[in-house]
Amino acid sequence: MTIENKFTVQVQHEDFDLNTEHARLVSNDRGIGAVVAFIGMVRDLNLADDVVALELEHYPGMTEKTLSNIMSEACKRWSLQAARIVHRVGKMYPGDQIVLVLTASPHRGDAYEANMFIMDFLKTEAPFWKKEWTADGPRWIEARACDDQAAAKWEQK
């Protein structure tokens, strides 16, 4: 097994399964001492309105390229043995899983920090757009300044 396929990104319509993804990530590597998993979920509340559904659009090609670049940058900063990003697109509903980030390292510190780093840059650089459906109809979600600040804090480290 080459090192490359331990670091993969995937954009898909289908749901993902944490146990399956985790088992695949750690298979054949007994040097992994820590795995951190982040799962983003669809909430039923945003800006005080009831959200009935969420629709995610992306820029095929650039999305995968951006996610791979973010992962490569994380590998330069931390000692990672494996990583996986799965991001869903299309229509989703409250309670659904949207995104999975798995990071694996010899010790927990690297896996924790790399995982947060990947999510912070995914939110500000990967070309995804969310459209929210409420009782009043659809509306596009606006980018939040706090997400930019979360990504910017890594520049100082």
């Binding site: 983003g40 995610l56 659009e57 992306h58 820029y59 090609g61 650039m62 390229k65 951006t66 991001h87 949207i98 995104v99 999510m119 995914l122 939110k123 500000t124 650089e125 990967a126 070309p127 995804f128 757009w129 969310k130 459209k131 596009w140 979600i141 606006e142 980018a143």
Partner: protein
């Protein structure tokens, strides 16, 4: 200069267009020049690009700044700030 221009999300809906091939005049050198060129179409184009609302531009699938020089045959994508995750 020949360019393929893509629009996503809010901008795709507002322009009623997801993609176009265009031949830009010689005066269009940078991304900012292209934005000004599109703004001259008036209506929603002018409102979007001259109205101070935030947008991002990617060239050949990399985010770029407005002063970036365009290359012939480039794929340019214009969109509102991203909201994934």
């Amino acid at each position: 200069m020949h360019l393929k221009v893509l629009y996503f999300a809010q901008l795709r809906e507002r322009f009623g267009l997801s993609e176009e091939s265009l031949v830009a005049p010689d005066s269009v050198i940078t991304i900012a020049n292209l934005i000004d060129h599109l703004s001259l179409r008036g209506g929603v184009w002018h409102e979007t690009f001259a109205g101070g609302s935030a947008f991002r531009v990617a060239m050949n699938q990399d985010m770029v700044a407005l002063d970036t020089t365009l290359t012939d045959g480039a794929e340019v994508a214009i969109f509102r700030p991203v909201t994934g995750g």
